[in-house]
Symmetry: C2
């Protein structure tokens, strides 16, 4: 398994599953869904947080539980779907205290309520490790869900927010790297209290300007590889979506800004392709939702991922991401 | 936590959660649900299987995964709701092999397909223990869902199937108790390849004869206590739903048949209350679904659980069940 990697494991599992005629979108998108009839789709998503691999030192039960919900909300956000209800299956260590459990429950509640959803059910079990499996449910019109597969050559490649902070933050938390107080504070906030871009995702989906969308939870490079694979296009990245002070800080630590930007993971930004003639409309919709939509490149007919360097030349962008089992 | 027990833990969690106006039935029933409008209800259920506490020796990956799905299907069965889609969040030990993973996926698929549902999504993670969190989704008319809370004094108390086998089977698997080959075979089948009473649950709910329903996954006594609490009635059990040879085998091992019958757990039978004037209709509906509906007692105005002994006298029935953390 350690050699197999998460992607191969997932392929192996899918190959054993019979396909449902009522399921949409096809396997491999950010969410699953079930056609309810009349063009309505029940949207379903599950994500599991395992303390020993997903929870960095210093993260509280409240933060871990809240994050477990936000992870799944982020996937619905990328599809333009509002989350309604959350269920949580908990694996709890024998030694968990009443106070820690209360904190955990408050974190679940906060993760749902911040996005208008409610936790309406769950299950508790004893488990050697803390495990929080969240399940998020929403409803949308089938033709309004933004898949990973609609990007076309010429589309504008765009992202919300800034990248690179989690890379530096995890370097600080796991390796003791020293960050400037300002960057450190922002990085820890992103890692410990991540936010899903729900309002922006909903507003952008509503414009009809998007052709494909994914969240960046496995890192920006990984998200681009997934969009590329699902849509059958390539991408040229012309501009790094990294804040100047984060790029500086990375360089000071001997990390290439592009490395921090593309391979951080655990960021919950949106990675989108936009019809060129609807770009302004998309920018305004995001702005009304309080988010800056940043153009970073374009989709190309030629497959592959490319990054334009400071010298103007294109370099191939490696499609690695943060994978469980390979860490 | 070990002292808190699962029930207290669940109460603590619920007290931190804000209540959703669209949620139905209220917290504490077998499933959660979300009102879709027009009288339709999205029915949601999650259940987590943790290998170190839930998987007895000798159970294969296929069987464990299949059981993880069946556990949740059984809850929908008790509510009279057909499962449509399943999602599975997997915590996988680092050492799991490709073959074991394929087996696991086949078990998930079988658990869903046997009941007409499909596995349409999931998540994989690394975890020190094997963890399978299943989420099951179905749709029903809100007024057709059978809750735990509708039992009225005078209602007939009934069950499907026979009880006591898992008690003996676990005694054999965990303590090495020797069973007769015939009982052993049946007991292992129930433990390793449990079946949800879906067709009977659907047929019975359709008759309108049921006033309350629950599955018996935490043991028959526990199920009665839950129905009693939710409905505000008591129960008198007049007859043990245990097969004669299982009762004999229990006695031979020095176990009271009532003990084996009420405190086994991990059985996925239905425990129901039925309107007296609709009893025949219920029996016939169950029969058409291939299941014998067995009358075991009645609901009473006085609270509490009582068992009529061989001497004709009522003895109190202890409401303990199989609880995680207390095992």
């Amino acid at each position: 398994m350690a050699e197999l990697g998460e992607r191969k494991a997932i392929e192996l599992i899918w190959s054993a599953l019979e396909a449902a005629p009522e399921a949409y979108p096809p396997p491999g998108d950010d969410v699953a869904g079930w056609k309810l009839g009349d063009g309505l789709l029940a949207v379903l998503k599950t994500d599991m947080l395992v303390a020993s691999t997903d929870v960095p030192l210093g993260m509280s039960y409240y933060q871990a539980a809240r994050k477990a919900v936000v992870m799944s909300v982020s996937d619905l956000a990328a599809k333009g779907v509002r989350p309604l209800a959350v269920l949580a299956s908990l694996g709890l260590p024998r030694g968990i205290t009443e106070r820690e459990l209360a904190e955990l429950a408050e974190g679940l509640n906060a993760g749902a309520r911040e996005y208008g959803a409610y936790v309406i059910g769950g299950d508790t079990n004893e488990c050697p490790d803390l495990v929080i499996a969240c399940f998020v449910f929403g409803v949308c019109r089938e033709n309004e869900l933004v898949t990973r597969s609609g990007a076309r050559p010429g589309d504008i490649l765009a992202v919300t927010g800034e990248f690179g902070l989690t890379y530096l933050g995890l370097k600080a938390l796991l390796e003791g790297a020293e960050l400037s107080p300002k960057v450190r504070e922002r990085a820890l906030k992103v890692i410990l209290m991540p936010e899903a871009r729900l309002e922006a995702g909903l507003a952008l989906a509503k414009t009809g300007a998007l052709t494909a969308s994914i969240d960046s939870s496995d890192g920006l490079a990984w998200s681009l590889a997934e969009l590329s694979r699902a849509s059958g296009v390539g991408f040229v990245v012309e501009e790094l979506p990294i804040a100047p002070d984060v790029a500086e800080e990375a360089a000071r630590l001997g990390v290439e800004p592009a490395e921090a930007c593309f391979y951080g993971g655990e960021e919950y930004e949106l990675v989108l392709t936009v019809k060129p003639d609807a770009w302004e409309e998309a920018v305004e919709a995001a702005e009304r939702a309080g988010v800056e939509l940043k153009r970073i490149g374009r989709a190309t007919r030629e497959p592959g991922l490319w990054l334009r360097g400071p010298d103007g030349k294109l370099r191939p962008l490696e499609a690695r991401g943060w994978e469980h089992f390979r860490a």
